[in-house]
Amino acid sequence: MSHLDRLRAVFRVALNLPDGTDVDGLEYRAIPQWDSLAHMALIAAMEDEFSVMIDTDEMIDMSSFAKATELLEKHGVGAASR
């Protein structure tokens, strides 16, 4: 599975969304499921899935799925799984 597919799966599980939900356009607080509590669960799930440590500022700035992919790239995840 590509890192993007893994990230999509992490989003669906952490935000409690049905299988196959399109998450690529998601933004923080744009749907009720992605609230501040879910945001923390999402960050923790990303850390587990990709073995990265996400700092406070990175967590605050991760306000969309697109930002999450950028964050993973910054941590070298995109490049490594290709």
């Binding site: 501040s36 923390m40 923790a44 440590m53 996400i54 700092d55 406070t56 500022d57 605050i60």
Partner: protein, 342 residues
């Protein structure tokens, strides 16, 4: 980058024009605010921070004060009020909401660093799970951003969960970790744990009212936590939902609360409303450049405080202490979001 860099004079030079500009911006964008300024005859120029017109913090209970169009409102924050009182309502647009989170993080970085630390929460998980979040829950939730592996000291029924704490310390007790709770909760539940929290950094807030009833002040609080839990890194903070994101943080020696660069305090004599000199108690006015979507940049609180010194502590700027509530002020809930008494 630290947000504790500006000395008293320098800070005044930066904040006075910035807050005067904010006053003008809110005057134009918020009709009720404009009417209040007209009614009290406030008009520029405002040369000093202390010259700026202030709003009593309770106006946020009675008036809808926002400087952005309704469709731009991203979050509405409410404070707890005791029964029968209306809560404060604070209107944030996307920009103000993002800024408050970021600046709170920047402020706490001075004691926490950039990493999210393993976190012990002196509360029950149920306070953050309530869909109609209480002010206490909102406060805990806001702080949880700075932690990882969040572990709650109390179980769902509000009883101490000694096993959970033991497990947490087994995982993280040898590294730096964060402990957060409301002041009276920390006092009630942390001391009896018999746990070694010597690697912990305690952040606490919410006011001293309940502890004052037991005649416990800050010095006693710090002494007992050091003695009974090994907690030596202890930081109280003072802040309120009406100026969300701005917190005044206690220095490492417990010698007072320090202001981040984008904020300051003015202590006012409650008879003359003039600025009180250091050492003389008065009402605390809090100023901050963060409230851009509502006119909360210059607020007169209902708390009494005193400036203990300027540019004479471990961080630059004013160093102050909160002494208690104004006796006639209405009672507020004991855990207003981000605390009401220092």
């Amino acid at each position: 980058m630290s947000v504790f860099t500006l000395g008293g004079a320098e800070r005044e030079a930066v904040l006075a024009p910035a807050l005067a500009a904010l006053t003008e911006r809110h005057r134009q964008a918020c009709p009720p605010y404009s009417r209040i300024l007209d009614a009290i005859g406030a008009r520029p120029p405002y040369e000093r921070v202390a010259d700026l017109p202030w709003l009593p913090v309770r106006l946020f209970k009675t008036h809808e004060l926002r400087s952005v169009e309704e469709d731009q409102v991203f979050r509405v924050l409410t404070s707890s009020g005791t029964t029968g009182q209306r809560p404060s309502r604070v209107f944030l647009d996307r920009e103000a909401a993002a800024a408050q989170t970021r600046m709170l993080a920047a402020t706490l970085r001075v004691v926490l660093g950039e990493r999210r630390l393993p976190m012990l929460v002196v509360d029950s998980r149920s306070v953050v799970r309530d869909p109609a979040l209480s002010a206490r829950g909102a406060g805990v939730l806001g702080m949880m951003n700075f932690g990882r592996d969040h572990t709650f000291v109390l179980d769902e029924h509000g009883r101490v969960d000694a096993e959970a704490v033991k497990g947490f310390l087994a995982r993280h007790g040898g590294e730096r970790f964060l402990v957060f709770g409301f002041t009276f909760m920390v006092w009630l539940y942390l001391r009896g744990l018999g746990a070694d929290l010597s690697q912990g950094v305690l952040i606490h807030s919410g006011g001293w009212k309940r502890l004052a009833e037991q005649e416990v002040g800050n010095a006693e609080f710090r002494r007992r936590l050091a003695q009974e839990c090994g907690l030596r890194s202890v930081h109280n903070f003072y802040g309120m939902v009406e100026q969300i994101g701005t917190v005044f943080l206690e220095g490492p020696d417990g010698d007072g609360l320090y202001c981040p660069d984008f904020a300051d305090v003015v202590i006012r004599d409650p008879e003359t409303w003039q600025e009180a000199p250091p050492g003389v108690p008065g009402l605390i006015e809090v100023v901050s450049t963060l409230p851009t979507s509502y006119p909360g940049h210059v607020l007169l609180t209902e708390d009494i405080g005193v400036v203990r010194g300027v540019d004479d502590g471990c961080l630059p700027g004013r160093r102050f202490e909160v002494l208690g509530r104004l006796p006639r002020a209405e009672a507020r809930g004991c855990s207003d979001t981000f605390g009401q008494g220092g």
